[in-house]
């Protein structure tokens, strides 16, 4: 089970975003230690190569720095916010790449590397932000989805397709795709709720 942050623990995520909005670069540094690994995983999954994934992470944190002042804690976790930024920037890269006729993509495709644990990202001495257990649970939760549910969700999140585009690509009725996305996500939510990220006040 995830460990709750102890009372004397490092600052809460939303406090870090607040400090970043005030110009505190150390706050971004701490957020990187906590979530750099998650953002890199998202970026790599979308763009499929290391150099671009790293650029995405850099741009995502730069955007988080610029947009920190507009972050609304009531709308979700900092981790979720950062992840959506990284996903958007990663999809931008993929779209730009396809416009460039995929020249860069074919030249620089990386081989996946064996796992140096997510823990390698942690400079924080506390283990509150160790994602290893989350990772195991996510992999287990994904196994509980039907293959079509998982496919629909992954096409939406990692390839940036709308439900209509997924239906078109898979040649399935739109209603079927909507149902797969909704039921699949509900199933994941129910399985993963104990592993959700820290929320604001």
């Amino acid at each position: 089970m995830p460990k709750p942050a102890p009372p004397s623990a490092p600052p809460a995520d939303h406090d870090l975003v607040g400090r970043a909005a005030q110009g505190d670069q150390q706050a971004i540094s701490t957020l990187y230690d906590r979530y750099g690994g998650v953002l890199y995983a998202v970026a790599y999954r979308v763009v499929g190569q290391r150099a671009d994934a790293e650029d995405v992470v850099i741009e995502a944190f730069a955007q988080a720095w610029r947009d920190a002042i507009r972050f609304e804690a009531t709308r979700g976790s900092v981790a979720g916010w950062l992840t959506m930024i990284a996903r958007s920037r990663a999809l931008d890269v993929v779209r730009a790449r396809s416009r460039r006729d995929r020249i860069t993509a074919s030249a620089a495709a990386d081989q996946p590397q064996r796992s140096p644990a997510m823990g390698d990202w942690r400079a924080d001495p506390s283990d509150s932000y160790d994602h290893a257990e989350r990772q195991q649970q996510v992999q287990a939760a994904l196994q509980t989805l039907s293959p079509p549910q998982r496919q629909a969700i992954e096409l939406a999140f990692f390839e940036g397709l709308s439900q209509s585009e997924i239906a078109e690509r898979l040649k399935e009725p739109l209603g079927t795709i909507k149902t797969r996305v909704r039921l699949g996500m509900q199933k994941l939510r129910d399985s993963l709720r104990p592993f959700f990220f820290e929320r604001g006040p």
Partner: protein, 260 residues
């Protein structure tokens, strides 16, 4: 609050969190979302699910210097926040300045490709920001119009001990609907939320739950007001985030809903 039936906009919360709605669907859903704290909470949960999806993949290694590159990029952003010095502004240029300008031009040409890519990204982000701000503006205008409707009555919910926090309740009697606007509200503990109660025929009737923003503000719209009885007051307590059928904690704010 009751759950909408199948086919309601709320069913799109998961797809919205995944970014899987088309532009029109997104606009419509966000209009609905602005008035539904429950759906906002649901979207936040689905966003976490989406963030966790990436962890379903085997972990991969980034370059060891990525952390430093991220921080260098943020420093660069920081320096952009600092206004330019007078020497970088207009005016006659000395020969040294001309050479400097040439060097800068060469650097600019080298970096042009990257800049174009970056500008495309910036443009997309600006468009997105603009669309979001437009939606916020429309939502605020709709709220203002609702408050200014003839027949809408304003009531104040206040705290007996501490005069600091407050809630304004705009009651549209024609539509049996209210807007609540809170300010200087303290944060609630994890897993808790403020809950509104209407006192009808002397008994508390549960209504919406909500959490304040870090600024202490909270606004909830389209709050149904009970109709079949005499609603005499409204009150606020802190309850579990999902809401409670009966108050389980002391009243924090209260106010009469009758004109004196």
């Amino acid at each position: 609050m009751s759950h909408p039936d199948q086919g309601s906009p709320r069913d799109l919360a998961a797809a919205y969190a995944l970014g899987a709605l088309g532009p029109e669907e997104t606009r419509d859903f966000e209009a609905f979302l602005a008035g539904s704290p429950e759906t906002q909470r649901e979207v936040a949960e689905f966003r976490d699910v989406a963030a966790l999806l990436a962890l379903g993949e085997p972990a991969r290694a980034a370059g060891a210097d990525l952390r430093n590159r991220v921080l260098a990029r943020v420093s660069e952003e920081q320096s952009r926040r600092i206004p330019r010095s007078p020497s970088g502004s207009s005016g006659f240029r000395t020969p040294t300045a001309v050479w400097g300008a040439l060097a800068a031009t060469i650097l600019a040409v080298v970096g042009l490709g990257a800049a174009i890519l970056s500008l495309r990204g910036d443009l997309a982000r600006l468009n997105q920001d603009l669309a979001e701000r437009q939606l916020q503006l429309e939502a605020r205008e709709a709220t203002l119009n609702a408050i200014l409707e003839p027949g809408v009555e304003l009531y104040q919910l206040t705290s007996s001990g501490d005069p600091n926090p407050g809630i304004q309740l705009f009651w549209d009697r024609k539509r049996n609907s209210a807007i609540i606007n809170g300010f200087r509200l303290k944060p609630v503990p994890e897993g808790k939320a403020y809950q509104l109660w209407f006192i009808k025929d002397g008994k508390p009737v549960p209504s919406v739950t909500f959490k304040p923003e870090p600024t202490g503000h909270a606004r909830v719209e389209q709050v149904p007001v009970p109709t079949d009885g005499k609603v005499s007051a409204a009150a606020i307590t802190v309850e579990p985030a999902g809401g409670s059928p009966q108050p389980t904690s002391p009243i924090l704010l209260v106010g009469p809903l009758q004109k004196s």
